[in-house]
Symmetry: D2
Subunit: 391 residues, 4 copies
Amino acid sequence: MPDASPTKWHLAHTAWFFEAVVLSSHDPGYEPFDQRFFHLFNSYYESLGPRHPRPHRGLLTRPSHDEVMAYRGHVDRAMLRFMETADDETWAHSCTLVELGLNHEEQHQELILTDILHAFSCNPLLPAYSTAYLAADSPASTLAHAAPDAPSLRLVHGKPGIDWVSHPGGIVNVGHAGEGFAFDNETPRHKALLAPYLIADRLVNCGEYAAFIADGGYERASLWLSDGWAAVQAGGWKAPIYWIAPGDPRAPSDEWQVFGLAGVRPLDHASPVTQLSFYEACAYALWAGARLPTEFEWEAALSAPEHGRVTQMTGHAWQWTRSSYDPYPGFKPNPGAVAEYNGKFMVSQLVLRGGSSATPHGHTRATYRNFFPPATRWQFSGVRLAKDAAC
Amino acid sequence: MPDASPTKWHLAHTAWFFEAVVLSSHDPGYEPFDQRFFHLFNSYYESLGPRHPRPHRGLLTRPSHDEVMAYRGHVDRAMLRFMETADDETWAHSCTLVELGLNHEEQHQELILTDILHAFSCNPLLPAYSTAYLAADSPASTLAHAAPDAPSLRLVHGKPGIDWVSHPGGIVNVGHAGEGFAFDNETPRHKALLAPYLIADRLVNCGEYAAFIADGGYERASLWLSDGWAAVQAGGWKAPIYWIAPGDPRAPSDEWQVFGLAGVRPLDHASPVTQLSFYEACAYALWAGARLPTEFEWEAALSAPEHGRVTQMTGHAWQWTRSSYDPYPGFKPNPGAVAEYNGKFMVSQLVLRGGSSATPHGHTRATYRNFFPPATRWQFSGVRLAKDAAC
Amino acid sequence: MPDASPTKWHLAHTAWFFEAVVLSSHDPGYEPFDQRFFHLFNSYYESLGPRHPRPHRGLLTRPSHDEVMAYRGHVDRAMLRFMETADDETWAHSCTLVELGLNHEEQHQELILTDILHAFSCNPLLPAYSTAYLAADSPASTLAHAAPDAPSLRLVHGKPGIDWVSHPGGIVNVGHAGEGFAFDNETPRHKALLAPYLIADRLVNCGEYAAFIADGGYERASLWLSDGWAAVQAGGWKAPIYWIAPGDPRAPSDEWQVFGLAGVRPLDHASPVTQLSFYEACAYALWAGARLPTEFEWEAALSAPEHGRVTQMTGHAWQWTRSSYDPYPGFKPNPGAVAEYNGKFMVSQLVLRGGSSATPHGHTRATYRNFFPPATRWQFSGVRLAKDAAC
Amino acid sequence: MPDASPTKWHLAHTAWFFEAVVLSSHDPGYEPFDQRFFHLFNSYYESLGPRHPRPHRGLLTRPSHDEVMAYRGHVDRAMLRFMETADDETWAHSCTLVELGLNHEEQHQELILTDILHAFSCNPLLPAYSTAYLAADSPASTLAHAAPDAPSLRLVHGKPGIDWVSHPGGIVNVGHAGEGFAFDNETPRHKALLAPYLIADRLVNCGEYAAFIADGGYERASLWLSDGWAAVQAGGWKAPIYWIAPGDPRAPSDEWQVFGLAGVRPLDHASPVTQLSFYEACAYALWAGARLPTEFEWEAALSAPEHGRVTQMTGHAWQWTRSSYDPYPGFKPNPGAVAEYNGKFMVSQLVLRGGSSATPHGHTRATYRNFFPPATRWQFSGVRLAKDAAC
């Protein structure tokens, strides 16, 4: 798939980021590992020169894995030296870039998992990535880098029914301000006006989504956005991309199964459904008599526990919102080359909120804005429902 | 081009709309002209059965123009009879559909012009559609169906500089309510919260846009959204689609020229620039040190003349806004088949406000939401600038 | 379809040919009708300057039909004048070009019919082109321009069984020499060595082809060339392109029907099957325990009636041969611009021999080499079987 | 590139061939290594069940290289056991399949090299595969598996001028018969009739090809086949695919260079030009006032040293012929699954004769027919010229 990249590329690209954004500009003594890697591992920074085309990344048999690891070692050592020796003024100019580089690497940690899962899903053998993902109820809790997120973001077990948390609307504060790292697309913090609404206290689960399929969800044009219906027909969609129908010769069974990092597993009705496109999320919501929340409704619900407790806000699935990825009022991109980090993608994408089982712990936050095109199906992306409050 | 349709198809499709939406459902005595036209002239109504694929419309050499005009006559006569004879209850159920059909036909009147212009632009002869478009300063004023719009919407002559109208922001009312026709996507009327902003009192003109080109606007990646830059490179964009560079063999000249409904004309510096994509509009705005207005900023500026007079709000070019085409809070599609009219397109498109020289007079209004994908270049679409107020 | 052109284009292009190849070069007094038509109606002559891209031909709404007919009249009058007034030397240089222009126009007469038929086949109304094609057993006999071909080329009625005509092989003479017009690709006449073979005395008919379909012909990979099987799967081929399966909503029937110039007709078992691709012709032949003849086997069979009488050699369907379209030994293209007429297409195409019901009478001959890519399905192209002689 | 495969795939596929064609059918005691590899490593045998799509081969991260080598070991051991223990009747049925498997593996040895070279050429680092290819004048002589071919096939050093060997034509015998292995597409041996011709005694070299480029070879439509010219324009061809123009930032130099298995090297004027498409070969020949030989002219020249000595017939480049890849008279595919080996590709391809520096020694022979589509540029394919004899 042209949107996915090999692991080796991710490993080199995240080192490249530190080299290109921090070391080249702020460390006069830095010696590059190999000048040519600048071109090779640039992802999309036009201001940093020509790039290797994304669809060709899979062809990069050279440099080898060992060379890439040597490159990472070189950059890591240079970064440690730089952080120890930079004078105050240099550090003042570069510390936010270092922090950005760390967050950038965390984003790619998740992409490595989603890209591996996609590559494995194209393999008729359907290999398992790691049985570690089987060891507990919560996949996230088993990750080596696990650390507690804020309680309201924590994953809890699914429960049979949905409770609707009622929010009165009105003027709310959204976006990031103050201490702590955030991407530029989360700023500036500003006021937004919401109508009263209801939001589901948990994610839609696989059992509910299976009922949608059984009810002809993928065969009824009236449930779908026009582009979504075109995607259903062009792609022959009949279920989420990694669901395996009964009778599939790759993994014979009489029941629905789901392919994931732990390999092929029986469908678990209580688990949140993931790997949905925005189109599927919208169609499901319409079928269920609801809609998706806007990104501000999602953020306000998380920030106001006094109106009711929402769960599964992170740790299992990014949650599609009914908000296009537009700039916030007063948005200013980061200065310099990293101006290209977020702002130039603000069209034809949808905002996802929360975090998934593949997101490094501590990476996400209440104001975090993830984004993907509406047809994207290979991310850990699911659905939380919302409704207008009766008035 | 797959997005454009031949005039004959538009003529038949607008008759089809009355047949499919009004006559078939509400007039039990209606006899269809030809059962097969139902399939042939359906544009995108999944609930009304299979459709003829859009890219094949150009191949419809049959029915002939005469047959299509006979079909229109048949439907017109049936509609007149229906409107005279329908009982009160039937009329109560169908009158909004009749009004919708009239507005639908007005939309296609504009599309006929934009599609003809596109077909002519692909012809090396660059033929003129009508010299009527030359007769006055304002193209719109020469149209046979011209009738006065509200003063604040009226086209005025361009003036040398831009004045910035300052709006204090705060809570404003947007969207349609009350008497008069509106599409469902303009409803419900609701409150929105705006930050203080400045908005240009006129459109960007061709002279200003020529300066952007001369300054390397199409060659500087940093001015463009990522998808926009990809479109520039893939399509070899160097100017608006109908601009003709000096030396073009199709229309030799030493100066820039512009192809339009009146044929090839010298570039008029004071005329609003049109046929821009959203990508071009955004790149221009960034180059000019400004941004596009949101759709609510646009609507509030028009509705609050006490803050300053904005001109050229309609009559020359639809104006790209920095608002994705998302549903309004509490949006409900029209009931029945016409639910598909607007709602199912609410993804991956941008809102345009105003109206163009090709828009039938009286068709548009302050709350009107036109929408197209961001790469669209064959509409009468231009730019009005906005800025954050200094605070 | 990108390979088909509108009738208006064919009408102008055939006039253009006389203008470009004869009048512009050999008649110093010739005044062009419109300089710009040179570009517009050039099909593929690189040496005659830039061309209008083929897939855009359908968009040429201007010049109008009336203008094209005026253009034809202008060129016709100039040609008549030229032929009356040219001096002997001029005529010596140009008379073969005039003859080429006439044969070129005859080729386009057939293409007009095949392109109209294709456009109509994309129209859900499946309109009939002319009921004249119904009036007799032999479609060809009803054409206004009908005139007798040589007896051995004449169409005869199909008969139930196939008789195999046996040819002893050996050295035969093939290709054109001597008096009369021929295209350069038919020359030089030369000797070829054939092994003994059998050739069918008539074409494969629709009834036989229906048996192939009923026997799973389109579902058995082992019958197909690799590219052919890929085409079957990518295109969803299940029958010849204009065959209409029982139950097709466009023309309800319980039986197979065939769409043609006379509209939708019941399948006639005794009629030669047409509109086959080379892939379908090869698959059928393999299924039938035979193969296609080479182009020299075909020509030798026609030229040696003493070995047995072959019928239906022209008048209904061009006949795919198992010969790639390679140059003859010693082949020299025509001199000048018309060097591009045939030679530059000699790769990735297959030779067809004979002539069809849409071929103007007198146009074809025993040495005539028609050619199309192997996936071509919109021509009047059928199958004659051959076999190796047992030895 | 969809036509190239990773080395791991080639390694597994050649083992698969022995498993699928020999062991599964002829060794009742054979236990497969992994049932699922049957699907995974099938290349194009429809009769042997579903296949993994070729463009997805690059995604096969599993099985790992170690697993593939274990698979090869398993099959090798089973084959040794089978060959030692098979009874006479079994062996009589399977020995030609074993020989076919060995030749199949040799074909993939060459493809491994061409595919690696292509992957490396897409890498901006342009890595060298092996400096062994630098060690001698003749690349082939350095290969570990080198062994002497017949003298007339042996590579000799280029010499300044071309000598034309004259062949009188007449009836010649072509194709394979008798002892020794050959593919089915080389049979049956049969007579062919040739006109008198001249054939070059060596291959076209890089210096000559550079003169073609310098003379505008890639800019003159009149030199190219129509499809070839379209490829030149669509692909922006300006030189052979692995030639590196002066100033290319990937390998700065003021001179032309050539990328190959030994990395980037200065252009060697005396070396045969390789990695040409058929289109380039034809255009060069026309520019040089010559043509390509037919496959029978090539074979006859090699088989009749009494008419003059031709050199470089193998060991450096496969030689495009002006013969489409059609079946020989009386051609019968191999029986069973291996019927698909050659016959089903006999359309839209051209025959190459000879052998290249990447061809295993002893693999090729005078009657060998290699074949590729005309646009193929990543093989070791070059040009030998021919001419019609003056008569």
